[in-house]
Amino acid sequence: MSLGYLGSYAAVLALFVVGVAIVAGALFANRMLRPTRPTPDKLATYECGVDPVGEGWAQSQVRYYVFTYLYVIFAVDAVFLFPWATVFAAPGFGMTTLVEMFVFLGFIALGILYGWRKRVLTWA
């Protein structure tokens, strides 16, 4: 099987289109089969069964945002880990790349240590 580079991604795209068609088909079949008799009571937000009080988009405290920063930084770093992973043991690299890896691991460990020292994980 030789699809070529773009060809194989065209196959991925085709599968995505099939996925959209499956969802659309299911919803269309549902539309044909179901009754539609809306009433104001039905259209009220369900929440926990009692009539909702106030706005649906209530304010809430977002916790762990420091770890979100850490995640964004490390996830970007981790992206570069993949091309590196395929060549790091190639002849001529060996020790150099291994040392580089420990520098990378050290940075992540430092980040976690920082979050821990900042007491981000304790429920305040």
Partner: protein
Amino acid sequence: MAVVLDVAVRLAVIVAAFLVLPLIAGQAEHKVMAHMQARLGPMRAGGFHGWAQLIADGVKFAQKEEVVPAAADRRVFALAPAVALIPYLVVLVVVPVGPGLVGVDLDAGLFFVLAVMGIGVLGSIMAGWASGNKYSVLGGIRSAAQLVSYELPLVLAASSVAMAAGTLSLPGIVEAWRWWWLPWQAIGAVVFFTAGLAELRRPPFDMPIAESEIIMGPMTEYTGMRFALFMLAEYAGIIVLSALTTVLFLGGWHGPLLPGPVWTLLKVAALVFVVIWVRVSYPRLREDQLQRLAWVGLVPLALVQLALTGIVRVLAG
């Protein structure tokens, strides 16, 4: 033309597997949970072992009235189930079941898988926000927090396998796999599977849909077919996670006596059983325990696995 036909057949098989395997997993969950926890409900419909339950559920979902709350953000609300479901179908295209038996062999396969899998969680964040329901918003935020925490150990554990195999192509990884990778990559396997469970929001990591405190989280306002699509997405996610763990850590089609694809399916089935078993056995983790497990437990373990993989690979040549 022959190439196009070949790909069309492969995609057709993938779509069939995508539509059938999650249903089998869902049915298995009904029955296994019923046996493990002595639940009577799932064993009734149709007589023998409640075989008709799946059909009854399907009929109900297909003809149930759809209610979109007046307070909801209609467009996003309608789109969310599709965003949750379709990524799991697309991921299956690179998962090999036997030598040469794969949708397409992308050379960045592993990277593709991780990138596309992350999109699924967006569906539940969208649903949570668009529902216009306080509990759903909370559930959506919890989903987001969970994605952020567990994506890193997942990616690190997966890259450990890429280091060991020296390739990102999934068939290539299975090709390179040897039995001694089992002990060598054991930590990574546990981290990957656990983090994957958390990404799927499966118990014991189901804080985002914790029904005893926030009803059904992001799915509270959904009814009928859209709710069914969310359920399908959950079970498709279980299949995808089990298949990926099989391919990356358990050697995919490698195994004695039986043909390769049978081994792949057996390993996937065993992992699906473990997913159900874990649900039955463990209580739900509290939100702070959940975060702590990711950052203090899984990320350091994944780093240890990376160091171990690097040292063994370089020193052993």
